[in-house]
């Protein structure tokens, strides 16, 4: 486990030495503040609107960070050939996959905390309430969502050569699931065989990432998700994450490195 923690530590170090996160955070802050200054009347609708925009920006920024960092990790190790002195140590490729995953995930988690604290401050300044548990649930579920996404992107980074094309493909895949994933069963019903079975199959195989998106509940103050449901969704996300990490390792295991 030493190796895994050491690796994740380096991933986090690299991230905070780059500018990406700061730029995304400042942009989110700026856009939200501009929106906030437009709402002079402290209208209930406008607060909602503000929260909605802020959460959307958080989702976009976090997704961009996850895609950007995870798609770069293993290709950069191979391109800069840092993988050679690394694997010359008693480190297995499973350690590498796990360490890279953990580093990206923890880094995204830290960024998310900063984003959600900001969201809390913005909405508290308007509503004078602190729905901490709601924010915590939204944060937690989004963090699990990012775990699945990072694992997918890591797998992609072994299969597709260029980080940019991998990030684009993964982005389309994730957005596709977020947008149409939940409707696939209804779409299937409108088809005739064999399309119906195929679409049903896809519906049951894909990770339903929309489960992790509780933005509506936060925006409309609809209360909490049941904790039992939270645990189930967490386990669901963990299972997919493990599956994709395992797939990453399988693809990476026998890969010649030069």
């Amino acid at each position: 486990m030493n190796a895994v923690f050491a690796l994740s530590n380096v991933v986090i170090k690299e991230l905070y030495r780059r500018k990406d996160f700061y730029v995304l955070f400042i942009l989110t802050v700026l856009i939200t503040l501009v929106m906030a200054s437009a709402s002079l009347f402290n209208d209930d609708k406008i607060v909602r609107y503000l929260k909605e925009i802020c959460l959307l920006l958080i989702w976009i920024s976090a997704l961009a960070m996850a895609l950007g960092t995870a798609s770069r990790q293993i290709p950069a190790e191979r391109e800069n050939r840092t993988i050679f002195p690394l694997l010359a140590k008693p480190v297995t490729r499973w350690h590498v996959v796990l360490g890279k995953f953990l580093g990206c995930w923890l880094a995204c988690g830290l960024a998310l905390v900063v984003f959600y604290v900001f969201l809390g401050l913005v909405s508290a300044s308007r509503e004078h309430t602190w729905p901490v548990l709601n924010y915590f649930q939204a944060f937690w579920l989004q963090w699990i969502f990012l775990a699945v996404v990072i694992a997918i992107v890591l797998w992609g980074s072994i299969i597709f050569a260029a980080p940019s094309s991998n990030a684009t493909i993964c982005l389309v895949f994730v957005l596709g699931i977020l947008i149409v994933g939940r409707y696939l069963n209804q779409i299937a019903l409108q088809q005739s065989e064999p399309m119906r079975s195929i679409i049903y199959g896809i519906y049951f195989i894909i990770p339903h990432l929309e489960f992790f998106d509780v933005r509506d509940l936060v925006v409309h103050d609809r209360g909490l998700v049941g904790w039992g449901a939270c645990v189930l969704v967490t386990l669901y996300g963990a299972a997919y994450t493990l599956f994709f990490l395992f797939a990453t390792w399988l693809s990476f295991r026998r890969k010649a490195l030069n």
């Binding site: 050939r81 694997l87 010359a88 010649a256």
Partner: protein
């Protein structure tokens, strides 16, 4: 199994890059054994297969057939690499880290305790004369400095066997002399060193035994003094003769 490093009938083919292109046979049944405490010089012209051999020992490249062992453990097992130090052919380090951060990272992989790590880092940076630059990112280092970071990282786990791929390439004469001194010192500490080089004069002074690889085959192997005795000339002439560039002196 008597050697620390054993290579048996090792054959490595690189797959062809395109249709119609033949597979590249980089090693053709290599046999080699390095004994404890000796300095072994691995020689051969460019493209002979030296780096390929080391890549197999480190598990980067899979053997097509044959096998290799470090300390009696098959190189396919990561644990075979617990007691070795490796210096790659070119400098490949995380450029955004400083020298001490890099060494700390590798020390952690080996599970070396904190206090011990700091002590070793101080000693190693002193050894390779990088104390003044220890808090600077590696991307600001000159090539020679990067090469010396490489040597320091290869020694972080206090290894019993060192695998060095052209440790003196790209260094100035003083740098080369320093590396030679370090190798000598490590040898006196009882470490086994397996290294490749194109500097035959240097090899002649520090090596106990040498092997000359040519087109994936080991052409000559033996003690430096024995070879000089046998061929009646220096190592450079022997080398040229073996790869067919010079007439035998006594023919």
């Amino acid at each position: 199994m008597n050697g620390i490093l054993e290579i048996k009938d090792l054959r490595v083919e690189y797959p062809s890059r395109g249709i119609g292109e033949p597979v590249k046979l980089a090693l053709k049944g290599l046999n080699l054994s390095v004994r404890e405490g000796e300095v072994f010089g691995f020689l051969g012209p460019n493209g002979a297969g030296k780096t390929t051999t080391m890549n197999v020992l480190l598990g980067f490249v899979n053997a097509t057939s044959g096998a290799a062992y470090l300390f009696g453990v098959d190189v396919k097992e990561p644990i075979a690499r617990q007691r070795i130090g490796y210096l790659p052919e070119l400098t490949y380090y995380y450029k955004f880290l400083t020298a001490e951060e890099l060494l700390r990272f590798y020390a952690r992989i080996f599970g070396i305790p904190r206090g011990e790590t700091e002590r070793r880092i101080d000693n190693l940076l002193k050894l390779v004369e990088l104390e003044h630059a220890r808090k600077r990112p590696i991307k600001t280092y000159s090539k020679g400095m990067q090469q010396r970071v490489g040597l320091a990282q290869a020694l972080i786990n206090n290894p019993d066997l060192l695998i060095l791929d052209e440790p003196t390439s790209g260094l100035d004469p003083i740098g080369r002399m320093k590396v030679r001194e370090i190798i000598q010192r490590l040898k006196n500490e009882g470490k086994t060193i397996f290294f490749s080089s194109h500097e035959l004069g240097e090899v002649e002074t520090v090596c106990d035994r040498v092997g000359i690889l040519y087109q994936g085959e080991l052409k000559v192997e033996g003690r430096v003094s024995d070879l000089i005795q046998k061929y009646q000339t220096n190592l450079e002439q022997i080398f040229l003769q073996i790869i067919g560039y010079a007439q035998p002196v006594n023919s």
